[in-house]
Every structure is written in C-alpha cells, then in structure tokens.
Symmetry: C2
Subunit: 597 residues, 2 copies
C-alpha cells in the first residue's frame, strides 16, 4: 500500500476527551473516530487491525471444530421473554420498535437465538456435542460508555455456544475452548492470564475470564507468584490464617476516640498497627439486619457476602437502622454490648425484609465474622458508643452473642495463595474473553431437548464462550506502546513493514529502487506501507511510529550509494545498516507473518 493512496488520519495533539492511553493512541493514530457516545467508525487503518484480530479468532475457533454462522442483529421480544431476559436485562438492552409497533432488541448476546435454532433442528444425541459461533456487531446501551472501543456501546464480538448431552462432554469442549483461547491470545502477542471468574449475570458455575494485564484494566486479578493460580479478585478465596487464635492477653478497655471513625485514624491515634483493628459494617438483606466484621486493612467483598443466605440482595444499612439495632451512630459501631441473642447463628430464623424497605422492627440480627478476624485476639474495635472504641477485645471472652465465620473479604497482596503454593499478587486486567458453563439455564427455559441413546428426552447442557474482538485492539495497545505511539505485535500490525524512502521525489534512482523493493517485499508476503508522500523525514518517521508498524526500512540516496538500507525494529534503540542484497534474509528472521494453523 502506498501512503499517498492510504489515508493516515494521524494527529499530534492528545485528544482532550480520551481517558486511557489506548483510546488516545487510537485517536491519534487515526484508527477510529467517534460518531456518538460509545459509537465509533473504524478507519481503513483501524479496520486492518480489527480484521486481523477477527481472523485469528476465526482460525482458532474453526480449529476446534466450532461452526461459524451468522445470527440476526435485530431480535424479537418474544424470544427474549421466553428466557426471561427481556425484563431482566435492564437498560443495557437496546429496545427497538418497528413500523408495526412490534418490539425487538439489538442483540447483546445470542443464547435465545441459538437455543431456538437448536430446538428446531437438533433432534438426536448423535448430533451432539456441537458448537456454533459468530463474529458480529453487538450493542449494549452502557450508561457511561468510556475508554473508546474498550467499553463502547457498539462493538465486535465473537460469541460461541456449545450443546452437550452430559457434563463430561461439556467439560471436554470447555477445555478445548480454554486451549483455543490460550492459542488466540498467544498468537495475538498479548500478556494475559486465564482467571477463575464469577460468572455474574449469565448464570452457571464454572467460568474463566481471559484478562490482558494492564494498569488501566477495570478488573483486579489475584495470582500466585509460585503457581498457575489466578482468579478475579471478586472470587479469589481468602484463606483463614493457619495459626490458632492466640489467647487473650489484654483486658477489654473502652477508650475515648473523639472524631476518630475510621480504623486508619483509630490505629494512628492509638499507635497500634491497623492489622490490630477490626471494622464493623452494618448491612440489611432479606435475611434481616447484620453486623459484619473485617480486619481494619481488609476490604469487604460484596460478591462473597452475597453468597451468604439472606444477603444475596444486601445493601448498607441506613443510619436509622443502625441506631435502631445498635443504639449507636455509625463510625463507632462494633460487636460490643449488643443485644443478648445467644447462639443466634444456630437458632436464627430468617425473616422477610426487602432490601429496599427499611427495617423498623427490632429483631435478632446476625453477626458475620471474616475468617481473619476469627483468628484475631486483643483487637481494637468500635465500642458501640459514640466517641469510643474498645481495645483488647476478644471474641470468645467479650462477645455476648453467637456469630458465623465466613470468607467475606477481598484477598490482598501478600495473602497466601488458596492452592497452598506461594503468595498472592494483585494486578489489573482487561477482560478480553470469557468462557462459561451455563448448565441448563437457557435450554430449560427455551424447552430445548434431544433424544438420548435410549430414546429418552434430555435437556442439553450448554457452554458459552465470548471474545471482545474490538476490545482486544485497545487491550493490545495498552500493553504495547511507548512515548512515540503504538507498537503492534507482528500478528495484528496493520502493516508489517514501513518502507520509507527519504526525499524520494528528488531522486529518480531512489524512486525506482523504492518501487523495486516494494514489489519484492510484497511478493514475499509482507504487507508494506510505502510512504511516497512528499514529506520530510521527521513527520514520516513520526507517522510510522505513531501507527505502530513493527518494522521500518529506510532508503536514502546515501545509503543506496553505499549499497545498504537502514532497518529499525519498533522497539529497537538504534538502527541497523543492512546490505541491500541481504535485506530479505535479514527480514525473514525478524518479521513474523501470521500463518494460519
């Protein structure tokens, strides 16, 4: 491709409204342009990268035996009502009314559509297992689209769905998808981790997220420094400390802590480590009011708390509720002088209270203690009296009521790894893929069935497997850039080689040499952007670097007279002078043209 015929919409200034590096670089390199909030046009440059990503995904999906198809974008309401998602999906679902006032949605995923196809077309266990996929434009009406194509409303996604007679077959396909995803992200040249993930709204049990590691990532990932263990921080187990709870050694004392309401303030005030303090949090769920205890430096993990019966829908308690149950205002609450409800955790009756309605009635409440707190002794906590804290508090000695112990905190850097190997580190990641085992959630709701080898009707079990194709482009940039711009991995670079003939318009010899080299390189299978624009070398180099072409070959009259050209890899610190006649061999060792498997 000649730059004179391939428009580069590069800009020098960093766009004001771009909030991440990849968003800034995609705008500056002219890969995308915003059309509306969360809606982008992909320019010819951006489209080349997007297609390369899509093709790698396609090749690896085909390799697993998954079958490509194309489902509609506009989906009828009736189908979504069958699965219950029409109401449940909320405002993320872009709803559309056609000229006949019938309702549709712009498909955000396609479980209903594929189940509809399967229930009509697949009759026998002999046709299973089967996996379908598509690469398609999707829409989710994000309330705050941001980070450019990273969290856009309209985006390109690969979504796959598998159907099985039994769990063993699903497990096998799941493993095969896990491997395919690993190959895909490896071929894409990304630094990623497959992490155990909470499967969130899609439902089901087993799931893995594929996270590209990057500072700007929205997700936090915990991984072991000595094993393969990796999990979304929402899901990573915080082990109970291995030691026994030490015996009490202090007397429980009430201390005046005026205006000190956070553990950090109290610890500083009392000159104790924050790890000796315990934070109390009051919450309300359908299970009633509850007091939660976590160590002062630990964070409550909402996902874990929601798994406790009666708190799946919990919210923070209001000030009124706190005063009603604890007779104390927030900031000083703690497990001290509570109502005497001995053995609450064994005898408790769950009573109905909705998360949205306040609890007006005084009733027994639960005390939920994090595993770490359970192993602490002589700790500092709120005295349940405004302006005071207690020190030397011990659960077994000083608590007036029963409690339950659970893993309810987020893991922290330095925690022991749940698999017993090494300690945890926390990094941020961008979710680019997600594989789920869905169970029979959709097949049951949509009445999908097949006959097994005994002629009995069976509901297939399913998996679903997504990749954010357009998001990958941004994620790759987050990992591969420097102050001069993007640095593409060879496999998804818009061009492999930037061929830059300096002052070509002043030298016929240079021009014909450049043309000859362009033809040779193209013939060898390289995708070459030859910059034939009448530019000075500076802006020419700057463009090639900004748009991230991984290999640069510079032709100059002086060089040609000496029989050499100048090569520079995008990450190299300096140039190599390469004899012209050795250039092709030289490049062959350095440029990795993506080869289909």
């Amino acid at each position: 491709m000649r730059a004179s015929r391939f428009p580069l919409f590069t800009v020098k200034e960093t766009p004001a409204d771009a909030d991440t590096l990849s968003h800034q670089l995609m705008l500056r390199a002219g890969m995308i342009r915003k059309l509306a909030a969360g809606i982008y046009t992909w320019t010819p440059l951006g489209t080349r990268v997007l297609h390369k990503v899509a093709n790698i995904v396609r090749e690896e999906m085909n390799r697993t035996g998954a079958l490509e198809m194309l489902m509609p974008v506009v989906l009828p309401k009736e189908l979504w009502e069958e699965s219950g998602r029409w109401d449940k999906y909320g405002d993320l679902l872009l709803r559309i009314q056609d000229r006949k006032k019938a309702w549709y949605c712009f498909g955000p995923t396609h479980e209903e559509v594929i189940c509809d196809l399967v229930r009509h077309e697949i009759k026998s266990y002999r046709q299973l297992p089967i996996t379908f996929y598509q690469i398609q434009t999707k829409f989710r009406d994000e309330i705050r689209p941001r980070f450019g194509v990273m969290r856009a409303r309209e985006f390109l996604m690969k979504d796959a769905y598998s159907f099985h007679l039994d769990q063993a077959s699903l497990d096998e396909t799941y493993r095969s998808m896990y491997q395919a995803y690993t190959r895909i992200f490896t071929r894409l040249g990304l630094n990623f981790r497959a992490v155990s993930a909470d499967s969130g709204d899609i439902g089901g049990d087993v799931s893995h997220e594929f996270q590209v590691l990057a500072e700007s990532g929205e997700d936090a990932i915990a991984f072991s420094d000595q094993s393969d263990y990796a999990a979304n921080i929402e899901l990573a187990e915080a082990l109970a400390p291995a030691r026994e709870r030490p015996k009490p050694s202090e007397i429980c004392t009430k201390i005046d802590t005026p205006g000190k309401t956070t553990c950090k303030e109290v610890a500083a005030y009392l000159k104790v480590p924050i790890t000796s303090t315990v934070r109390a949090i009051a919450v309300v769920g359908s299970g009633g009011f509850a007091l939660i205890l976590v160590r002062g430096d630990h964070e409550l993990n909402e996902t874990k708390l929601k798994k406790i019966e009666g708190f799946g829908d919990y919210r923070l308690a209001t000030e009124k509720e706190i005063e009603l149950h604890l007779r104390c205002r927030a900031g000083y609450i703690g497990p001290v002088n509570l109502n005497p409800y001995p053995d609450m955790h064994r005898n408790r009756t769950l009573y109905t209270a909705t998360a949205s309605a306040p609890i007006n009635e005084l009733a027994p409440f639960m005390l939920i203690v994090d595993r770490t707190v359970d192993k602490m002794s002589d700790f500092v906590c709120g005295a349940n009296e405004a302006g005071y804290h207690c020190r030397g508090f011990n659960l077994d000695r000083d608590l007036e009521q029963g409690y339950i112990v659970a893993d309810i905190r987020k893991v922290a850097e330095g925690d022991p790894s749940p698999d017993g190997k090494g300690t945890l580190r926390i990094v941020r990641g961008i979710e680019v893929g997600h594989i789920f085992q869905n169970g029979r959630k959709y097949t049951e709701a949509m009445h999908v069935s097949v006959l097994d080898d005994q002629g009995r009707t069976q509901t297939p079990i399913t998996g679903c497997y997504g990749i954010g194709v357009s998001r990958i482009v941004a994620a790759a940039i987050e990992q591969n850039n420097d102050e001069r711009g993007i640095i593409w991995p060879d496999s998804i670079a818009p061009f492999h080689i930037a061929l830059l003939p300096l002052n070509m318009h002043k030298s016929e010899k240079l021009q014909s040499e450049a043309e000859a080299l362009y033809k040779e390189l193209t013939k060898d299978g390289y995708e070459v952007l030859m910059d034939d624009r009448p530019l000075r070398p500076g802006p020419m180099f700057a463009d090639a670097e900004l748009i991230g072409i991984p290999h640069r070959v510079v032709l100059s009259e002086r060089g040609l007279n000496a029989g050499s050209v100048e090569y520079k890899g995008r990450r190299d610190a300096s140039n190599h002078d390469v004899p012209r006649r050795e250039l092709l061999t030289f490049l062959k060792e350095r440029v990795r043209i993506s080869i289909s498997p």
Copy 2:
C-alpha cells in the same frame, strides 16, 4: 468437513410460506432459518456461501484501490437531519431511542457517516480521489418483507463511497467500479446485465443497476437483441415511431359503447386492433389537472410522467375531479369536446394544487400525449360522454386545444432499441448491485469541502456503489437449480466436492480409502464434505444434490475393487467411472477453486 460434525438441516417438504424458488431451496437446504418477519439466521452451510460471496466482493473492491473500513450500525439522528434524510426516508428507516431518550437509526446506507468522516479528515485535493467501502449488516424496515433473504429487512451489504474534485475523476472511478462489478458478477458465475437505471431516491444523474436475470425478479429490464443496450424498464426510452403521422381518412364518429370502458373491451366490440385505440388517464399534480393519452396496449410509465414539470408528485384524479373538468365519468373520458383552451401548452400557467388536496376550481388543464399517440391517426378514444366512444379521431383535425408530446409510456417487447440497433426484449431481473453518481447532494448538505490546487475551497463530487451481498446468494439460486435442488457455481459453493463413501460403516477398507482420499483432496485445496453419516445411499445423494455441491465423488466397495470411483458433476446427466489413480488429475480439469486475483 465431515457431515457427522457439520449439521445439514435439510428438509424434504417445500415450506408453505416460501414464495420463490430460492427461498424454498434455501429453507430446504437448511441455509437459513426465519427468526422474525424479514429476519433470518444463516446456518453454518449458508454462512459458508455468504462469506464466499463477501470475499469475492472484497477482493475485487480492494483491487480497485477502494479502502475497507467499518462504520457504525447505530447512527445518530443529528447526522441524518443534516442531510434531510431523517424526515425524508420514511418508515423504511428503523428508528431507535437509547436509554437517554436520544434518537438513532439502524443505518440503511452510510452517506452521512462517510461525509462526516471526510469533512473532518480530508483537507486537500491531493487526498482525492478516494473510495471507502464496508461490508456490513444493514436494516430497512420493509412493510412487506418477502422472498426470504431477497427482500429481507436485515441484510448484508457492501456499500462504497467515492469523493472527487471534479466530474472527470468521478467518471474514471465510476468506470472502474463498473468494471469491478462486472468482474464480481462474472466470478460469481451469474448471468447478469448492467442496465441504465433510474437512480430513484438516492439522487443524482448517472446510475447503473446490475441485474441477475431471473423469472422471479422484481424488476423488468429492456435490452436490445442486437446491441449492448439495457435499461430498467422505468428508464428505457420509447422512441417516437419513425414514420410521419398518416393523414386522416375517416370521419370522427360517436359510437354507442354501453358498458365498454377499457380499450380492450372497446377494440373487441368495434372489431379493431387494440393498437388503434387510445387510452385517456386523468391525473393531478402540483401543475394541476391533466389528461394523459397513451395507446390502448401501452402502459403509462410513472417515472417518466414524474419528470414532466408540475407532475413530479402526480396522483390519479378522483371521480369528482374528473367530472368537474371533463363533465364525464371515468371509462369514457377522452380528448373530445374539451374546454376550449387553445395553445394551453404554450401559455399555461402552473398553479398550485397539492397532490393531496382535490382541485375544486375549474381551470385550464394540460393534455399530455405520448409520442406514439402523436403519430397515430383515425384512432378510437373515449367520447367524453358516458356510454360513448369516438372512432376516426385525429389530433390535428378534431382536437380543440393544444397539447404537449412526451415519452410517457413503458417500452414494450418488440419496440425499436433506443440506440437504433435491433429491437427490445423484456426480461425480469434481480437487482444485486447499483452504482450511482450522486453529484454534490450529500457533500453540499453536509458541508464537505477540500482545498484545490489554487487554495480555493471546493465541494467534492461523489459516487456511491452498493452490492446486496446476502441477496446475491438467493439470486444465484434463482439462476442455478433443478428439481433436485441448488446447483452452486464452483466459486461460491459451500463445498467443492461431496465425497460419498457408500455403506462405509460396513467396510473397514472403504473407510480407510475414504479417509485417505479425503486427506488428499483437502491437501489439494478442495473443500470437501465427506458424508460419514450412517445413511443409505439415497438420502445421502439427495442431501448432496439439494445443498448444491457441484462435484460428487462416490466410493463403493465394488468400485474400489475395480480400482475406480464414480464422478458426477451436479449438472451431468450421468456418472463417469474414473480410475482411482487418475481422480486428482480428472478433478483438476473440472473443479475451479476460486483464486484471488
């Protein structure tokens, strides 16, 4: 691909609600499944064909230097208001409101979006000409979606847009697109014609439709039997008969024609050829009331009439309007005893009447005479008196008012070709491509400008070029089928070869021979569907024929013992026995694997 792992959703019965052959065959072959009115899922089989079509289109577009990009599907109202199309496009435009109540549409074409990109990014004439294209899902909310994917609401389209400093440059790109389209439809193996077309709503002057010839086509095309001339029947010129108008030879006589209101009835009743009769049609436009005369066997061409000043928005006159102006009821109206407005056509003043409001005022009206009628003499026409016609009517002798002569009829089979070579034939076609010269319609409305070589601001002139990718699949089937099913051209066949080992499950030898041959064929670049399902030969043959695989290789134990396999082309009447060791050479001469240019 093995049939055991590639689901064929074939059905024997012709689906009740499929109205054309291609729709029936696509359903029966299991290429598509309906999800909602005009909305289809493409199965793995259908998707293979769809992608092959898309790839041929992509290759040929790239060859012209057009740049692929990807514009959004969801487009903001504001942009469509700039071009005026938000209001003008009508109910075909699927309008969408997002969660913030902002309005969008599902893009049916992308003139606005590309103009928006160009006005921001292209500054100089040096960057022109430039052509952008995309292959993308589009939506048009057809009131009556029909014929399957032929007139679906959701469909796959290639749309391209070119920008130029001047007409000469547009003409050059237009020619290049014309040639690319010709290559595309040739490579697709289609019998097509490029026809001059009325450019309809998109606006502009020059345009060509690419029509695949098929009985079921919605468009009528007129073409010369002795030249390249071809035009949409809406646009084909009806030449004036070459002869002079004969002198009157009959006296104008009023004849009782009770209950005979059509030319056909009157001709039969009077025992004259219908070509001696003239039909009068009363219409109303902003130019007022008008009486139109066409020969009894000719059809009024609405598109042509609309080009006459004052009738761009014409409608048929109501009974009241006819009685008011002609003092006669419909069925017997004619150019007889009209109000005396001599030389109306020279002195007429256009007065305002809207096409929707009836004309209540008696006023001068126009008489518009088709070229053919203008050359007739002694004809039969309505007497402008209920129950009567006239015979022996002659315009120059018997008419009381002036008239204008225009080409306002549809051409008919046997008319002379407008290019003076041969006579016209009429065939039906399916529009699969359309190229337009748009002028500055969109660039002016959207304020697109570039600087020319003198530094002056210029509004670029544009072309746009569409191909209905999904429609092509149906059109190809309309042209290529027999009573057993589809017959794919090699270039877009889902598989090149059906490899059918008969009773493979009973013979280990056959099984290993089939596997070996499958590997050999695949290695040679053929896409092979090996039917390894435990089926009897009948259903196996039927499936391969129904889904249209163009080449069939049958392996049987008896054949192998004799050292031969059986080959049959999908259009062949009988089998060929081919020695096994010569098979690859044999196939090489017959199977055309699509090669990129």
